[in-house]
C-alpha cells in the first residue's frame, strides 16, 4: 500500500511514498529561477523529507522537481534486527534485472567494483541493524535533469556499531536511462520491510 503524499508548502509536485508508515514534508521549492552572478538568493533548498515511524519497505521520491542543478541527500537508517546489509537505490523505476549498472565502493581497506551489473546500486557498505544505533549517509547527483546523459551518484557513509563498523564511499553509474531523474527509490538490500523506524531521508535541491 502507498501512503498518500501530504504536500506542504509551495512544492505541490513532489511525492514521497512508502509501503508502510512514515511522515513526510515538502517545505520549500522557490521556483525555477537560476541565480545570476551576484544574486544572493539561497541556492540550497529542502525538496522533501521522509521519516519512518515503523518498519518500512521502501522510500520513494517521485515527481522530483526539474528546477535544480544538483541533488543532495542526507540519510540516517537502520535495518530491522538481523538485517545489516546495504542501502540501495533505483532511478526512475522500481524494477530490477537491468544489466547496465556499475559502481565502485571502498572503505579504503578493501575495494569492490561492479561492471554493467544487474545487482542493485550499493550505497557504500552495510548499515547497522542494532537499535538504537543508526548509520549515516550523504550523497550527491550532479546534472540530474540532463536528458542525454547517464547519471552519476557519489555516496559516503559512516556506521560504528558491533554489527556494522564502516566508513566507506561509493560511486554509482546508472546506465539504464539517459532521461532526467524524476523518481528515486531507496530500499534495504535484504528485501522488503527491513528499514527500521527512525530511518530518515532528506532530499535537497541545489539551484
Amino acid at each position: 500500500m502507498s501512503l498518500p503524499a501530504r504536500l506542504l508548502g509551495a512544492n505541490p509536485s513532489i511525492q514521497v511514498s512508502t509501503l508502510l508508515s512514515g511522515s513526510l514534508s515538502t517545505p520549500s521549492a522557490k521556483g525555477a529561477k537560476v541565480p545570476e552572478f551576484g544574486d544572493f538568493s539561497d541556492a540550497y533548498e529542502t525538496i522533501a523529507t521522509f521519516t519512518a515511524t515503523s518498519t518500512t519497505n521502501q522510500i520513494q521520491f517521485s515527481s522530483i522537481p526539474q528546477t535544480y542543478r544538483h541533488l543532495h541527500f542526507r540519510i540516517v537508517a537502520r535495518g530491522v534486527p538481523g538485517a545489516n546489509s546495504s542501502m540501495v537505490f533505483y532511478v526512475n523505476t522500481s524494477s530490477s534485472g537491468t544489466t547496465n549498472r556499475s559502481s565502485a565502493r571502498s572503505n579504503f581497506t578493501s575495494s569492490t567494483q561492479q561492471i554493467k551489473s544487474s545487482t542493485p546500486q550499493y550505497m557504500g557498505m552495510d548499515m547497522t541493524a542494532t537499535s538504537p544505533a543508526l548509520t549515516i549517509w550523504e550523497g550527491w547527483c550532479s546534472g540530474y535533469t540532463d536528458s542525454n546523459t547517464y547519471k552519476q551518484f557519489t555516496w559516503r557513509m559512516g556506521s560504528q556499531n558491533s554489527d556494522s563498523n564502516e566508513f566507506s564511499y561509493s560511486s554509482n553509474f546508472y546506465g539504464v536511462t539517459q532521461d532526467p531523474i524524476t523518481q528515486l527509490t531507496f530500499y534495504h538490500n535484504s528485501g522488503p520491510n527491513n528499514l527500521a523506524a527512525g530511518t530518515m531521508i532528506t532530499m535537497f535541491g541545489l539551484k
Binding site: 539561497d42 540550497y44 571502498s106 557519489t154 561509493s170 553509474f173 541545489l206
Partner: protein, 172 residues
C-alpha cells in the same frame, strides 16, 4: 536571515573540441567557504588537475586515497604543479562522465595556506571504476580568486557534458 548557500557562477563546455579547461575567475571575497560541484566528461584517459589563481608552480600538496579497479592506492603529492584529480582508464563515450566536489574552507584567508577536501567518482561502464578522495593544501597565502579544472594534457578536450557550479557559503 542572509542566504547561506549561494550559486556564484556556472561554467560548462558548450562546443566540443574547443577547450581542455574551465575556470571560475574574479571569485567574490564575500563568502566564508566555496563549494564546487559538477560533472566532468573527459575524452581520453589521463590525468586532470586543479589550478588556483593560475599558479602553475609546484605549490600543490595533497594526500590521496584512490580506489581504482578494485584495488586501493594511497599516496601523497608534495609540491606538484596542480592538485590531485586522476582520470583513470577513461573511454571516449558519454558514459565516462565523473562527479567532482571540492570544498574550500578558507579561500579568502591571506595569512595561511589554503586547504580543500576533494571528492571524485567515476564509476562509468568502462572496465575500471574510480573513487578518489583527497586533502589538498595550496601553499600560498593569497586569497583564491580563480579556480581552474583542466585536463592535464593541453591537447585533450573536455566534453560537452562538463558542467560545473561554484557556490559560496556564509557562516551565519
Amino acid at each position: 536571515m542572509p542566504a547561506t548557500y549561494t550559486l556564484i557562477s556556472t561554467a560548462e563546455v558548450t562546443t566540443a573540441g574547443t577547450t581542455n579547461a574551465l575556470s571560475f575567475s574574479s571569485i567574490p571575497s564575500t563568502y566564508d567557504s566555496l563549494e564546487l560541484i559538477g560533472t566532468i566528461e573527459h575524452t581520453s584517459s589521463g590525468a586532470g588537475k586543479i589550478t588556483i589563481n593560475n599558479d602553475s608552480a609546484s605549490n600543490y600538496f595533497s594526500r590521496i586515497d584512490d580506489a581504482v579497479g578494485g584495488s586501493i592506492y594511497r599516496y601523497a603529492n608534495t609540491g606538484s604543479a596542480g592538485g590531485p584529480f586522476t582520470y583513470p582508464s577513461a573511454t571516449n563515450t558519454q558514459s565516462s562522465t565523473a562527479f567532482i566536489k571540492l570544498l574550500f574552507t578558507n579561500y579568502k584567508d591571506t595569512n595561511n595556506h589554503k586547504v580543500a577536501l576533494f571528492y571524485y567518482g567515476q564509476p562509468t561502464n568502462a572496465t575500471t571504476k574510480c573513487l578518489e578522495l583527497a586533502g589538498i593544501r595550496y601553499a600560498s597565502t593569497s586569497a583564491i580568486s580563480t579556480i581552474t579544472i583542466a585536463d592535464n594534457n593541453v591537447s585533450t578536450y573536455l566534453g560537452t557534458k562538463t558542467k560545473l557550479s561554484l557556490y559560496g557559503i556564509v557562516n551565519s
